[in-house]
Symmetry: C2
Subunit: 80 residues, 2 copies
């Protein structure tokens, strides 16, 4: 079983990496790209857990390990 976890800067938080990319794209002629947000994406390979356990454990892992809850938010899905 696998989990996919997305960790993004909160909407209210500045995203300097995303802004830098947006400016670079604008300079390269991609003016149609009005905003860029950059986050992290994790693929976790899981063994031994039922789907219900995986759901609960990946929720904990996302909140306690992968995400800085002060400035980031997460979502995840269990796949396969």
């Amino acid at each position: 079983m696998k989990a996919h976890v997305w960790v993004m800067p909160k909407r209210t938080v500045l995203d300097p990496q995303g802004q830098t990319i947006q400016h670079a794209l604008s300079g390269l002629g991609y003016a149609a790209v009005k905003d860029v947000r950059q986050g992290k994406f994790f693929v976790l390979q899981l063994e031994d857990w039922s789907r219900e356990e995986a759901q609960a454990q990946v929720e904990k892992i996302s909140r306690e390990v992968l995400t800085n809850m002060v400035i980031e938010e997460y979502r995840f899905e269990i796949v396969e």
Copy 2:
């Protein structure tokens, strides 16, 4: 319109960030997490492009700007 872009280390490339997280999780008791791969996730806000233009332009942006093709691979989707 929006684009979602995933940029991941190629399967053949070591992923030290992912390995560090996997070791940390193992130490925290999450031994069921056998492997972690960490990549980047971008959300691009697009204006003025048709769906076909967006498909072509985001392909170019992904390949030329967001991805280091030597060590990373990408996929993307156009949404909304």
